[in-house]
């Protein structure tokens, strides 16, 4: 079990490094960062100056290795826009993103999983159809549009909630709903399908034949099995909500890492962008790693060989 975990951690690190390398290449090859930094109306001399100043004239591989070397030590360089260490800039904002992501995740889980379970117990009833409708709508709704609708309805028309910023806990309600709603359909469908399959399985019939009441049959036996693939997906979704909330943060002007990312791209603030990409890939591989470990823990067939 320990060896398994060790191998997976190593693999995760490898993936993170590869991602940072690829993104580095993509970013630096897509355009000339020197021009982006110097500004649209910079003279060729100014551009040349910027290039030498930031060491952008050296081979890309060297630049990457330098960057990686410093990154391992926790130094992600300075942001030319903020004139501050990238680490601090991101560190200031990561708390907000964590709160938002966690709330959105909780919302998604509390909405999707119970709905999926109930839909599986009572297939083809109104509740099943409602669950499927929510799922179908959720998959089709563009997240920025949903956010804007929430703002108009709850922020402007009803005036229940503040429409932008991240000052109080109230500011997080709508963004969390908008972000969480996006992940619910997949989670609900997986729960529903998994439960339906499990409920039709032989060991559930055995449980009933022992005289167990519907409660223990459902929760102790059925859910325990059906939840295994759901947990995996939930982890990946959580990772996405931590890192993929660019649009939601932008719409609600929540001052988190996503908002920073969009703005930094607009400003061609490459060190920040590069660091955020690394951060997001690390979050992703960590989440998949945790999900694998939890999977092995939940499913004895994997765990006990």
């Amino acid at each position: 079990m320990l060896v398994y975990t060790g191998k997976r951690i190593l693999l995760a690190l490898l993936v993170a490094v590869t991602v940072s390398f690829i993104s580095f290449m993509i970013l630096n090859l897509s355009g000339d960062p020197a021009i982006a930094l110097a500004g649209a109306d910079a003279t060729p001399e100014e551009i040349k100056f910027v290039r030498e100043q930031y060491g952008l004239d050296r081979p890309l591989l060297i630049q990457y290795i330098e960057w990686a070397g410093r990154a391992i030590q926790g130094n992600f360089g300075d942001s030319p826009y903020f004139n501050q260490p990238v680490k601090d800039i991101i560190g200031d904002r990561i708390g907000v993103t964590l709160i938002l992501g966690s709330c959105a995740f909780l919302f998604a889980v509390c909405l999707a999983i119970p709905l999926g379970v109930i839909a599986a117990i009572r297939p083809n009833t109104w509740i099943d159809r409602t669950a499927l409708t929510i799922s179908v709508f959720g998959q089709a709704m563009p997240n920025f549009f949903f956010g804007l609708i929430l703002i108009i309805v709850f922020g402007v028309m009803l005036r229940w909630l503040p429409i932008s910023g991240s000052g109080s806990w109230r500011h997080f309600i709508m963004p969390a709903i908008a972000l969480g709603y996006y992940g619910s359909p997949a989670l609900m469908r997986l729960t529903r399908t998994g439960m339906m399959e499990v409920l039709a399985s032989d060991y559930i019939r055995t449980a009933r034949s022992k005289g167990l009441r519907p409660g223990p049959v459902l929760f102790k036996h059925a859910l325990r099995n059906a939840i295994i693939p759901v947990v995996s997906l939930a982890f990946v979704l959580f990772g996405y909500m931590l890192g993929g909330a660019f649009v939601i943060e932008y719409v609600f002007a929540v001052n988190g890492v996503g908002f920073l990312a969009v703005r930094s791209i607009e400003r061609a603030d490459l060190p920040v962008v590069q660091a955020i990409i690394l951060l997001l890939s690390v979050i992703y591989v960590t989440m998949t790693l945790l999900s694998d470990i939890l999977n092995a823990y939940l499913d004895p067939r994997i765990r006990v060989k």
Partner: protein, 335 residues
Amino acid sequence: MSALLEVKDLYVDIPLAAGVLHAVRGVDFSVDRGQTLSLVGESGCGKSLSVLAVMNLLPKKAKWYADTITFDGQEMDKVRERQMANIRGSKMAMIFQEPMTALNPCYTIGNQLEEALLRHKPVSRNEARDRAVFLLEKVGITAAGSRLKQYPHQLSGGLRQRVMIAMGLMCDPPLIIADEPTTALDVTIQAQILALLASLQKEFDMGMILITHDLGVVARMADYVAVMYCGQVVETGRATELFENPLHPYTQGLLRCIPVPGQTKPGEHLGSIPGIVPTPIGKQKGCVFQNRCTYVFNDCTSAKVDLTRISAGREYRCLLSPEVCRQNMNESQAT
């Protein structure tokens, strides 16, 4: 003295897209303590559905009703699911066909065994554990203590079936129902499991309903037999009577399919029953066996064929008289 379980006039209907499937039509059977009743028939004849109906374990879509079901002196056909849940496991236990999938892969053997007892009796966890160990040893599993901590996937099919048997016995039920308990197992293990079931039945004085399609199993285990075909009981009787003197053409056909050591000559064709089982959707006209019966005649296609009673517990469902049936059997055996 009333029987332990008595079922009269059981019907099971399953709604399908093509119509309602009358899977079980007017089936009677009964079993007493210390006896083994065997329900025999081909796949799809309704034998499993019959016992699932009695235990109220049918899928939601299926509808069932019976004239009377009496269990341990109690009228059961009007019993609600709540009470049924109390009876399942404690008074009536079932062992299923597929041991590989019958246990929950996420919990230990011990957990699932103890659960069966803790559900019905107010005992402590330790007492439940002791009973589990006791029964595991009874079913022939060594190192029972450590087995309790194992997971189902760590056990072979034969072992899992033994665990299922132990699980059925946790509450000391008077009736045990075994639905093809050995079909999914190796031939060598089959014999062991059957012997185990027989000895346990004797020791605990249980009634047993044994469902099978294998006449060898019937010969070995059954006191009484009910032969089912296409949702109906076509012949009942003591096992010895049935094997010596099968009356219904279907039973005769089944027996002809088995090679008899000492009688069947090498290279001899085994019998087979031509045709396939019809699908019981819609209204029935005449005898259910008519399109496969060797002795069919005109009345078979139109008359309603009821069970003819020869003596207590000995019945058969055919228009031919017992003497003619006997004659048919002798003729076919002579050739």
